[in-house]
Symmetry: C2
Subunit: 107 residues, 2 copies
């Protein structure tokens, strides 16, 4: 039932560091907004910039961070590059966090 019970396993300092680094990627408004957009499917850099009303450079910088971290992946089509979520865990973490704050709001 619960396949997420790592509680009792001893976690190395290294693993805990990686874990905090991983959550950092979700800890920025621009990146969270990009991730939310990507949850609806793949989309180009310019379209993201338009939707977020942000500069192309800012979006590209954040996409590089997300790409390097393995959260999103690019697909080239001509001169356009489409981005999409790389891993199914990304959406799950997004939604679990969302469930938490919506739950807190409702309470």
């Amino acid at each position: 039932m619960n396949d997420c019970s790592y509680i009792d396993k001893p976690l190395s300092l290294d693993t805990l560091f990686e874990l905090s680094e991983f959550f950092k990627f979700f800890g920025d408004t621009t990146r969270i907004r990009i991730i939310e957009i990507l949850m609806s499917g793949e989309i180009s850099v310019n379209e993201i910039a338009e939707k977020l009303q942000l500069g192309q450079s800012a979006v590209s910088h954040q996409l590089r961070i997300l790409r390097t971290a393995g959260l999103v992946k690019p697909r080239r089509a001509g001169r356009t590059i489409f981005y999409s979520l790389d891993d199914e865990h990304i959406g799950l973490i997004f939604n679990t966090g969302l469930a938490h704050i919506l739950h807190k709001k409702g309470a």
Copy 2:
């Protein structure tokens, strides 16, 4: 089955900002290590500082952040204050992130 499907609901800028702020709490090594310790049960400030080999002040500062955010709660017993996780979602998010990076490592 999946009670985390908020994908299609329109999310306000405000909610997305809160969500990124929420993930920020997991995006620091010291806080993640504190959360991991707290997953085994309540524990005092000094004990946390000892386990982490950190100054009492640093731990107290991070605990205040976690407490203000509603991730941990204090219980006073004499002059000792014991902290524990406030919400069941916290452990779930911790473990989902952990599952992700362990999965990536195994691949």
